[in-house]
Amino acid sequence: MIPFSSGTRLRDMIRAIRACKTAAEERAVVRKECAAIRTSMNENDQDCRHRNLAKLMFIHMLGYPTHFGQMECLKLIASAGFPEKRIGYLGLMLLLDERQEVLMLVTNSLKQDLNHSNQYIMGLALCALGNICSAEMARDLAPEVERLLQFRDPNVRKKAALCSIRIIKKVPDLSENFINPAAALLKEKHHGVLITGIQLCTDLCKVSPEALEFLRKKHTDGLVKTLKDAVNSPYTPEYDIAGIPDPFLHIRLLKLLRVLGQGDADASDAMNDILAQVATKTESKKNAGNAILYECVETIMSIEDNGGLRVLAINILGRFLSNRDNNIRYVALNMLMKAITVDAQAVQRHRATILKCVKDSDASIQKRALELVYALVNDTNVKPLTKELIDYLEVSDQEFKGDLTDKICSIVEKFSPEKIWYIDQMLRVLNEAGNFVKDEVWHALIVVISSASDLHGYTVRALYKAFQTSSEQESLVRVAVWCIGEYGDMLVNNVGMLDIEDPIMVTESDTVDVIKIAIKHHALDLTTKAMALMALLKLSSRFPSCSERIKDIIVQHKGSFVLELQQRSLEFNSIIEKHQKIRSALVERMPILDEATFSTRRAGLLPAAVSTSGGASLDLPNGVAKPSAAPLVDLLDLSDDLPAPSSSDGDFLQDLLGVDLSPAPTQSGLGQIQKAGTDVLLDLLSIGTPVQSSSPTTEILLPSQNDKSPIATLDARSSSSSLSAQATSSARAAPMMDLLDGFGPSPLKPEDNGSVYPSLVAFESSSLRITFNFSKQPGNPQTTLIQATFTNLTPNVFTDLIFQAAVPKFLQLHLDPASSNILPASGNGSITQNLRVTNSQHGKKSLLMRMRMSYKIDNKDMLEEGQINNFPQDLG
């Protein structure tokens, strides 16, 4: 029997793979090898296990799946021999990660190996544990590792220290156990143990405030001394790098001192001298020295202020910034980022250099510098900085343009001192890099334009001019098309000229040309085309003389494969041809878009517009009243069919830019109905809406309450929070069921004979009457069963009748679905709805209820509200 005889050797397999000329060839070789390995594994071939795993690891590195080899790792680890364990643990670390459940099976082997007599096997176990253990394994084996922190052999101690880092990161609760043994490592002489011990202490401080306190109090001085010794230590070839004895030790010490000195004046004091020494004496010709200086500056900036040290740090920073070595400059930019929090003025002084870095040839430096510039922008320097950035935008690389555009748009939006500046900058950006501008950015621009009424003329003229030169920039074209559609008349008549402008000659026909070119140039861009069609419709109304020509353009799309464009084409065409009378009303100047609502929606704070199920879309996300065009709802209902993907941010503007023909509620008061049902309920309970005054309403609801006993009063805080918790449930037939009542729906038993109570006319107006009939179940006096009957007193039928009710907190209300929501006219039928009210203060307080009824007559929304204070006394 000759060992290692069966199958190819590792190097033969590697050679075979490297000899492959195509991916298919390689796959074939790998497949064959995997098959051989699998067979060998199935035969439980001990001798080849080692080699098989080595092959598997190589195959894994190439990217092929190797999960079938995971058990092999376990078997090898469980073997007695060192070579098997060595490769087994390596395989474990490469082929598995902490998410695999198989990993748990190794815990036992690990435990044994952590107690092995051979320190190298202990080392293997500590290494594997430290690299990939899961939280459970960490918990299981933490005591072993803790013990090993004091093992006699330094090799084991240093590995245990690093392994402990992973343990406390995975299970922070265990950190207390490690504090003392870790602190003991700080006194070591062995460099390996010292640096790993220092690292462990640093991570302990991050995870455990007790560790931080303890180390700060007891060990700061010791560490300062260690650093002093390190700095002053004589030359040893073993640790020397570029003339510095063990720079790694220096750096780790500086890091730990940083953590200890931060926020503590005494600790910071203790380290002043050594920091000054490091800052002044360290050689900065080689990378090792610079690495130490970098760390030193970072530490100085983080600890408590000492004027002299800060000056030293800024000096080093300045030197780094003007160094020719790109690495050093990169690191200097990092330092500056940190320095902003400490001394913003000093950083501002370097603005020119930083701006130069934005234009550097090194993409990494550009990125860093750009972030730094962004952090430096304030109200005073925003104008010159923006100018510089936009100037650079014109010459920058394509790869950088995206980032640069994003940052510029951010800056402009955040700091814009006046609207005309905002519009100017955005126009420049669109001109230069319109294709990189994100949708939400140009949406925001339109919102701002619409709100700057005195600038409409200026803006549309500027856009017109820009279009002449940069019509390939998509976003520019979209904004231009929208504005020309809206304000085309201002363009042609030079309306609203500002002093800085010169008049331009634009005819009505010219404006139509622009739109035509937009459509042609961006034939593939559906959003632009859709917007262009809309703009043409507006222009046909503003410039009736161009109607024919516009019609011809629009009609070209009636065969479009895109439904949205086809629909628009046909419908707009129809409007132009046959519905001239209403056309102007349809495309009247848009009202000012509500910036505040837009920005909150954009930030995702408000819920997305509630979509009505079926029927005409009466939704208006911003609740702005629009000119009523109700009769044409069905004809012109343009639902969100736009193929261009619109995020929830875009929905808002999509609705307005594309679907601005949806009819509005005729009364502003009705706008409330369109909102999510919770708004309605908030109104009912007068909670959470700062606009309405809550006190008078609560008084009406609870006439007997003067004190603020939490049970009795409408606890605004908790009610509104319980309401908002239910905010997503849409208000339909039984809204109160979701919001105030935890019980599931259960059928009422109306025929139960409790006491008989007189029925009550809960509400009566000229159009609607609601009658309540009461009953109670025997043995359950707190719960009142109410049957509500709705009668229509008008000659018009009511549709979509919705009844909502609110009760004070000591009552629980449950609504069953109504029998129907169509109420025939003149009392020729009624709707019934059952309610159940449970009174937790039965006998002490009587029932109270507030109601809101909404319904439609001829599709017009109606709303009525009322209160019931006069429930029969003996209901309780």
Binding site: M1, P3, L10, R11, I14, R18, M57, F58, M61, L62, G63, P65, G81, F82, P83, R86, I87, N118, Y120, G123, L126, C127, G130, N131, N155, K158, K159, L162, R166, H191, G192, I195, T196, Q199, E238, Y239, I241, D246, P247, F248, L249, N287, A288, N290, A291, Y294, E295, E298, N326, N327, R329, Y330, V331, N334, S361, D362, A363, S364, I365, K367
Partner: protein
């Protein structure tokens, strides 16, 4: 396949960078430090708080350890092709060396001499085990003749 994707993308980013540019890139929100030795690129992904210049030193530390181990040339500025093949055919040994340098991403030992000594000790354990196995097999094959 995630590993392959990472390597592919990252190599794409790094290989296109010119020689004079700095050794740091940002990739998918991570910081990556890389250093080139002839035809070999050593890349390390690091945290935001890590010291980039130190990481360059760590990479160099590792390269020197590898060089000492594979023992080809004493002058590090000449990194022969031979060494690259050494790494490919003995990748597991490169990992063993790495495991003496880093654990959990942290530096374990600042003395190259100590690292070399530890690797050598473990290698000799492996040699000893091999010898034992082969002498055993000799005994067995003798016995079964």
């Amino acid at each position: 396949m995630y590993l392959e994707k990472v390597i592919r993308e990252l190599s794409g980013v790094i290989l296109t960078r010119g020689p004079k540019l700095c050794n740091f890139v940002e990739w998918r929100g991570h910081k990556v430090v890389y250093k080139r030795y002839a035809s070999l690129y050593f890349c390390m992904g690091i945290d935001q708080e890590d010291n980039e210049l130190e990481v360059l030193e760590i990479i160099h530390h590792y390269v020197e350890i590898l060089d000492r181990y594979f023992g080809s040339v004493s002058d590090l500025r000449l990194w022969f092709i031979v060494c690259e093949l050494d790494l490919i055919f003995n990748f597991h040994k490169a990992y063993y060396a790495l495991d003496e340098l880093l654990i959990a991403g942290e530096l374990q030992e600042s003395s190259k001499k100590t690292v070399a000594r530890l690797i050598a000790a473990q290698d000799s354990l492996v040699e000893a085990a091999k010898e034992q196995a082969s002498s055993l097999s000799n005994i067995i094959s003798q016995a079964t003749k």
